[in-house]
Symmetry: C2
Subunit: 343 residues, 2 copies
DNA sequence: GAGGCCTATGTAAACCTTTACATACATCGT
DNA sequence: ACGATGTATGTAAAGGTTTACATAGGCCTC
């Protein structure tokens, strides 16, 4: 039992007095084996403490039971909780998860491609919005993949994430309900699909409120704190300031709040700010940020479920699963101040 | 090249006009093979795009190139950055990392034990302070393991982490230098080794300052926000309040600050607070928390290096690597206010 | 110039599974 | 009672690699 070398299927077969084929069948296709035999096999397994050697199995089957999760940055505050969902779901189906981060380095990405060629992973969860394989992406034979958190830009890869458009809509509707009419959108982007969609939600909300497009203030950004700060500086150069900043994500919102704070303004008295994602910090900054929550664990769970389905069926039933975003109201939004209304 | 099935060592051998043994040698023991032959083999590899099949290799070798990283909670804010260090170092040496979380569930832990029996991982990084295998821990044949972030309680497992005692000492010395004499230690624990050590640093600092042990205020805690909050409530029941709260970690410090804030006190005017870990939130809470930084990436890197050494040598050179903690001064500490000095 | 040694390569077994195919036996229908 | 059909099990090959052992040739030494 506490033997130095782990038991093999052969040990089990010898003890159960059957052939190794029968043992294998008793494990993987129990209905194909007589009750009495199955019982003997199970006892033998219990005695030996046998566990099937995953390497041999994968070799024979030509596929592994590992899923590779690649993210550009594992340190991303959004990462951990999605990972929890991914891990739970995978483990429940006998898969393990491998993690890798590319640091947006094509060289790194290529290494992961090699990884697949050497059969070390059966599927791929893409945390980044782009395929990490650089220019080889086109020629590369891709494993079954699912994008998560951010739609995958180049390639028709199924995707699980929050409904960005609807989430943005909820944020803008809140601001409108508070009485804001001059709402700036900070963090527009043509390359990041999630951001593009949030922008669409913003526009849809303002359209519905009858606010003409040419009066809207939209600034580009890359979702960093710095970009939020920068946007504030830019806006103070212009003659019309908004009364509210709707930010493409929480990082940007934090940057905006820092920028506004540096100029001596109070939030939410002077300006309202909303974010998107509900990163863990959002509750700790001051004032606590009103934002849109990503159902992170659920995203991870669903994405893994979709990938697993893909692995068995070959075809996914759905190509895009959009989860419902929740508005979480904290303290960074209020009605526009009298002062600003006059503008 | 873009063939449907990946190239095998046999394909390479055929093209290079050598035997498969020579190909294997050319790859793994290049000095054993003639220059001319090695050249032919390398060309053949380039032509075929051959990558060695990790499954077959692991099967033959009897060990995999995966390291399992188990944490009780992947969502822990301390987790991500250590993971970065672990991943980088592992990848650089041809290892991949698998992650698993136990949620402090023994059943979960057992699953991971099975994992090793089925040869899916060569080594183990333990993120938790305890072995996650429940009561089977004793009988279990453990793979080469390294503890990280928190010393492993039950079992002589090598450990890489910050020097907790010295870190705590730095915190308490700062408070002493500011003039505090009544410094409470929040979060004492007999089961969590890291906490015990931090307590030791606290005592050492007060000893050096000549503050008698019986005047010290020490409260237990489990490192959660709630425990910090609770400690504040308890202290307000007593007649002597401290002027400073030295907390066992940042979470506890946040709890303390919340508790103090709820009672209308201002930090650092009325009370000083220090944390430990420097979690990402520490900079965002208000006031920003003065704390002790964990060199997280470095810890991960060193831990993986130690494990890899263990895997090749069998014996680690060192059994405990303690990294230097840095004091990061923010805004939660000041001199004790006149009011409180009178007490 | 013959024996011995060293170097470079080849042959084949082993690692542990899964599964197509073969076999053996029982049951059923006529 | 005999062939057909079906069920339970066994035999053996295959999957891709590494490596002990065998082989072959070249060179050195006496």
């Amino acid at each position: 039992m506490s033997n130095s070398t782990p038991a093999t299927i052969e040990d089990v077969a010898r003890i159960a007095e059957v052939s190794i084929a029968t043992v294998s069948r008793a494990i993987h296709m129990p209905e194909k084996v007589a009750n009495s035999t199955r019982l003997k096999v199970n006892q033998a397994i219990a005695i030996t403490g046998y566990t099937t050697n995953a390497m041999a199995r994968s070799l024979r089957l030509g596929r592994s039971n590992m899923i590779l999760v690649v993210a550009p940055d594992i340190g991303d505050p959004n990462f951990s909780n999605i990972l929890v969902g991914l891990e739970n779901e995978a483990r429940a189906h006998g898969y393990g998860i491998l993690i890798g981060h590319t640091q947006n380095d094509a060289q790194r990405g290529l290494e992961y491609l090699k990884f697949f060629n050497s059969n070390q992973a059966a599927g791929l969860i893409l945390f980044t919005g782009i395929l990490p394989f650089g220019h080889q992406t086109m020629t590369a034979r891709l494993p079954p993949s699912v994008g998560v958190f951010e739609p995958v830009f180049n390639g028709g890869i199924p995707y699980v994430g929050v409904d960005d458009t609807e989430g943005a809509r909820k944020a803008v509707d809140l601001l409108l309900a508070e009485g804001h009419r001059k709402i700036a959108f900070i963090g527009d982007s043509r390359t990041r699909l999630a951001y593009t969609r949030r922008r669409m939600g913003y526009d849809a909300g303002l359209d519905a409120a009858g606010i003409p497009p040419d009066t809207r203030i939209v600034l580009e950004g890359d979702g960093t704190i710095e970009s939020g700060r920068h946007a504030v500086e830019q806006l103070f150069m212009r003659d019309t300031l908004p009364t509210a900043f709707m930010c493409v994500n929480d990082q940007t919102a934090i940057g905006v709040m820092v920028g506004l704070g540096a100029r001596g303004y109070d939030i939410p008295r002077d300006f309202s700010v909303t974010g998107f994602d509900d990163v863990p910090q959002a509750v700790f900054i001051s004032p606590p940020l009103t934002t849109i929550r990503q159902p992170r664990t659920a995203i991870g769970k669903q994405a893994m479920a979709l990938l697993l389905e893909l692995l068995s069926d070959g075809r996914p039933t759905e190509t895009e699963i959009l989860l419902r975003p929740d508005l979480v109201v904290r303290n960074s939004v209020s009605a526009p101040s009298r002062n600003w209304l006059k503008r």
